[in-house]
Symmetry: C2
Subunit: 418 residues, 2 copies
Amino acid sequence: MTLTIDSERLQQRLAAMSRYGATAQGGVDRQALSAAELTARRQLVDWASARGFRCSHDLIGNLFIRRDGTSPDALPIALGSHLDSQPTGGNYDGVFGVIAALECLETLEDSAVPTKHPVMAVSWMNEEGCRFSPPTMGSSVYAGILSLDEAVAVRDDKGVAVESALINLFERFPDVPVLPPPAIGAYIEAHIEQGPVLEAESAVVGVVTGVQGMRQYRIDVRGESAHAGTTLRKFRKDAFVAARKIAQALDDWTAKQGDFPFTVGRFIVSPGAINTVPSDVVFTIDVRAPSREILASFDSVLAGIVNSATHPCAASYEVLYTADPIVFDPDLISKLEGLLRGQNIPWLRLLSGATHDAVRISRLCPAAMLFVPSRNGISHHEAEFTEPDHLAKGAQLLATWALHLSSMTPQTLFFERR
Amino acid sequence: MTLTIDSERLQQRLAAMSRYGATAQGGVDRQALSAAELTARRQLVDWASARGFRCSHDLIGNLFIRRDGTSPDALPIALGSHLDSQPTGGNYDGVFGVIAALECLETLEDSAVPTKHPVMAVSWMNEEGCRFSPPTMGSSVYAGILSLDEAVAVRDDKGVAVESALINLFERFPDVPVLPPPAIGAYIEAHIEQGPVLEAESAVVGVVTGVQGMRQYRIDVRGESAHAGTTLRKFRKDAFVAARKIAQALDDWTAKQGDFPFTVGRFIVSPGAINTVPSDVVFTIDVRAPSREILASFDSVLAGIVNSATHPCAASYEVLYTADPIVFDPDLISKLEGLLRGQNIPWLRLLSGATHDAVRISRLCPAAMLFVPSRNGISHHEAEFTEPDHLAKGAQLLATWALHLSSMTPQTLFFERR
C-alpha cells in the first residue's frame, strides 16, 4: 500500500517553525535550549499531543514522539533530525527532518494504518554545537559516545551550563515525562544537502551512503623578514612562498587521489607589510575523505612535506580535529533504494560532507539519510532554500520507507545492537 | 697622492651620533626635525665649525658644510647622506654617509691638501619619510622634483607642519645662515647596503650602478564562500586558490625574466573560517626591476592574468606606487671604478633595491653611491650593523674619490646641468 503525505500541511508547519527565533534577514537564530527553541518544541508537542502521540524527553533533552505499533516486542523505527539552528541559520537545516518525521506519523494516523513496529519522530538536542560544544550532543549521549555527566557540565559563553538549561526545559514541559531513552531498531533522517551536487545534477533525492571522514590541521611556517627591494631570492626565507607551495602540493595530491574536498580557510601572513618579505604564515587545512586509509595517507604526505620540503623555511603542524568516516548500513540502503526505483524521482547516491545525528545513531542500529537539494548549495546562511516540491517528495519518500520498515516482521528486520 | 682617513675618529663620531635619539634596544629614533635630530645636527655643525668649514641651511633644511676650493668657478663636489632615522632605526643608515663625508673634509684639512673644487658634506633633510611624507623630501626639493610650498605644508600625525618644524630648526641654529641652495657638480653617497649581497659574496664595497624601479599593486580576488565539506572542486569559486595561482604565476615570471625581486607582503583571506571556502582575498605585490620595459611587461602580464586567468573567480588590481629605475652616470662610475682597482678591496657592482637621496640628486648632476656590507642584510632594525673595518674602507674610498674629483680641472669634469 502507499501513503500520501499532506504536502500543504508540511509547508504550513515549516512556515510556522520559521517564526520561532526568526531574524530580520529571514532566517532563524534558534540555538539549543534557548527560549526560541523551547517555543518550537512546545509547538511540536502540541501538534503531536493533538493526535494522541506520546511525547517524552530523555535526560539530555532529546524529544521522542511515539505512535504505537501492534507487535509488543518490535523496536521502534525512528525518523528525525534537530530543531536547533546556527545563529544565522536557515529555515530548513534540521527542522525539515523533524517536521517531515511528524508528517509521517500524522499520515499514518490519517490513513488509520497500523504498523507492527512503533514509529517515532525524534528531535535530537543540540545538533549544531554553537551555544554548547560539541555538535550532535544529544545524539552522542544517546549513542553512548559522550557521557551525560560530561555533556551537562558544558557551559555557554555566558556561563550557563547545559544542566541548568535542561532543568529549565523540563520545568517548561511538565506534560512531557522524562524517561529512559527508548531503544530503536532503525533510523532514517531526512535533511537538506547543504551542498550543490543534487541541484547541479538535476536530482531531487540523494541517498546518503555515508559521511566522509575529516581532518583539520594548523600549519605554522617560519621564515625571515627581509627588505623586499634589496633581498634576492637566493637569500630569502619567504614564509608566504613556502606556505603557498605546501597548500598547492596538498591540494594537488587530494585532487589526484579522488577529488577529495581540500580547503585552506584561514591564512595569516606576518608581518603583513607591502615591502617586507613575510617571516611567518599560519594557515589551516580542512580535508575530507571517505576512508581512514586516505586520511592516513594524507597525514603522511602532509608530514613529509612539512618536515622536509619547506627549505629554507621551517614548518610544523598540529592536528586540530579528526573524525572517522562512516558508512551507513548497506543492506538498509539497498532495501530503501529498491523502494525508490520505479518512483520516477531523479536520484543519486551521495556522500555527506557534513556530519549529522544519523552518524551517531549508526553506532547503535542501521541508519540512513535522504537528502533534498539546497538551492545554490547554500546552508548555514539565512538564504538557505529548498523547493516546496522537493521537500514534499523527500517527505513522501521518508513516509514510504517508514511504512515499509515498520511493517516488517520484527525478526526479519536485520538489525542488532552493535 | 693619497689621503688616509682617521678610522678611529670615524668610529668615535658614529658612536657619538648613536646617542642622539638612542633607544633602549640599542638603535635610534631620530626622526626628521625632531629634538634628537637637531641635537645631532648641532654636534655636526660644532665639529665642522671647529675646522673652519662654512655651514648653511637651505629653505627646506638641508645642511651644507663647505671646504673651499682654489678655483673660483668650480662647482662643489658634494658627499652626503641623511641624519634622520626610522622610529626603530639602526646606527648606520644615513648617518654613516654623513660622518664619512665630514671625515673626508677633515682628512683634506688634516693633510692641508688644496682642491680645485670645493668639497661639501651634506645632510639631506627628511630622507626616511616616516614623520613627514614623502621620503627623500629634502633632496627632492633641492632637485626641483617636489615644490617647497608642497613640502612645508605637510603635517605629521600630531598636526605639526614641516614649516613650523623648520622655523624651530632655524631658531635653534642662528649661527647657520639660511642661504639659497648651492649648485653642485657631482655627488657621491656612501651608505650601508641594507641587503645581504655584499656579505654573502664576501665583498667589502659595492659600486652602485643604479636603483631599481619599483611597482606596488593591490590585487582583489572575489570568489564565493561555501561549505568545506559538501562542495566539490568543480562547484567552488575558491578565492584562496585563485590568489595563490596568481602569486605563483607572477613570481615564476619575474624569476625567469631575471630573478627580479617579487614579494607578496600582505595577504588577507576572508571570511577566514577553517571550514569555509574563502570568498575573498586581498593581497599586495612589490616588484622591482632595473628597466621601465621590464616593469611595463610585468604590468601587462599581471593585467592578463588578473583579467582572464582567474576563472571561475574574478579579480581586479590597482597600482599603488610606481618609481622609475635610474642609472647612475656610467662615465662617473667608470672613473670611480678605475680608482678602485688595484686597491685590493673585494668589490662588486650592485643595483640598489632601496631608494636614496642620490637618486634625486642624479637629476641634476652625475651621482654615484658606494655600499658597505650590512651584517645579515639587516636594516630598518636596531640590529643593523657594519664591521668597523668595512666602514673605514668605505670612508677611505669616499675620500679617494672625493680627492680625485675635486682635483680635476673644472672644464674637464664631465658634468652639465640636465
